[in-house]
Symmetry: none
Subunit: 221 residues, 2 copies
DNA sequence: AATCTCAGAACTAAAATAGAACATAACATT
DNA sequence: AATGTTATGTTCTATTTTAGTTCTGAGATT
């Protein structure tokens, strides 16, 4: 699964996080592995990320997190271990899920950088079903009458199609995403806000792409 | 995950909370880190919040709370810690909380069996602060205009007092609990619904007991 | 020869710092 | 109820330092 260098780097990152709580910088990692340039580190980090061993916040310095370690460390005792007072849970038994928060969604303005994962929200598994999910922070008042307020975090299940009446994330003309109720009217699609002050958009189906359906909502007071 | 400054600040906040129970102010943090301006603290606080290490109440002074710590700082409890790669799992276990679901709350009808714990809801720690919490299922339409719908699960922080304008669980004459906005008018207390079709109740303070304040909301679609 | 790995440098982006002005909350006083 | 005071938090602009990304070419490996 990992090349020797990748493995060494992963272990180094893990130790540093355990010992100091601070992510190493690219330069520090370069020194630790005895490389003379950090471009090599860049490649290794990318590889570790692709393989799901680490996670990083986009465009943030020293924002590494180890999410799993190579199998050797786990396989031996993987079943149902009780060590001391803790009963360890295997990955499959995880009782919570981290889903990516893809920025804000507002009426009439695009989601800023849908691909950038700024941070993660942890949600209880009871909030979401199967399938792939992401989260968005709601900005604006266009859905207040549906009980969706400015600042709420909505959980979206990725999907390409949705039923009439469902609340969806809809991308119009590939550049403007909104959270609206979906209505189908023959060849057209209606994107209906839940606020008297906003207008329903009527669009030919080929200008609208569904990016997911509303699956949950979380709000803090 | 953290930069050195972020880490130092987090540790300082944590120590202060442990020792005195009071959040440090921005000025105190500025001094603790040896900065000459608190705008830097502001940025660090934002970064810590973004990464899920702290939580803060909006527009409140000294309202910081540490949600999680990097592994280092758990060394105090090191006797419980499992060696090697399993440390990771401990943090995962800490990242969720089960709180009791005490039945339903409706406008005008009592909470059924407040002491009976039917089941638990798991919530991410970022949704709630410290303190004791419970959950209620909302029944009825009395708070729809505040974005609280029938069927939503509200998270309530147990407390006896609340500020004007907060949404609280109020017990009237020891037998009828409702979720309403609290207003104080001299000797009287107003329990104000968020729905034009419902009436505000005006009651002398001694007939009302606060049972908690609204801290969060979760909804499934 | 094709592929992989790395060094080095140039470039871009974020973090940290500072100082001041501004905004808000809580409390005390009129 | 209105006003003022103090403590506290937020925002802005500007500058410096630190960190991350990308690209080219050289050598090693397959």
């Amino acid at each position: 699964m990992l090349t020797p260098k990748q493995h060494d780097l992963l272990m180094f990152i893990h130790e540093r996080l355990e010992q100091s709580g601070v992510s190493p910088s690219f330069d520090e990692m370069k020194d630790a592995l005895g490389l003379r340039s950090k471009s090599g580190i860049h490649r290794l980090i990318t590889a570790l990320e692709e393989r799901g061993f680490i996670r990083r916040l986009a465009h943030r310095a020293r924002a590494l997190e180890v999410i799993k370690l190579p199998d050797v460390y786990n396989t031996k005792k993987a079943d149902n271990v009780i060590v001391g007072p803790f009963r360890l849970k295997r990955q499959e038994e995880r009782t919570e899920v981290d889903i990516p928060l893809h920025g804000k969604i507002a009426a009439g303005t695009p989601i800023e950088a849908l691909e950038d994962v700024d941070r993660f929200v942890s949600v209880p598994p009871s909030m979401i079903g199967k399938g792939s999910h992401y989260a968005l922070e709601v900005s604006g008042e266009s859905m207040v009458e549906a009980g969706i307020l400015d600042g709420d975090v909505v959980l979206i299940e990725r999907c390409e199609a949705a039923r009439d009446g469902e609340i969806v994330v809809a991308l119009v003309d590939d550049n403007e995403a909104t959270l609206k109720t979906l209505r189908k009217r023959g060849p057209d699609i209606l994107l209906e806000p839940s606020n008297r002050d906003y207008q329903t958009q009527v669009l030919p189906a080929d200008r609208v792409r569904i990016q997911g359906r509303l699956a949950g909502l979380m709000r803090r007071y």
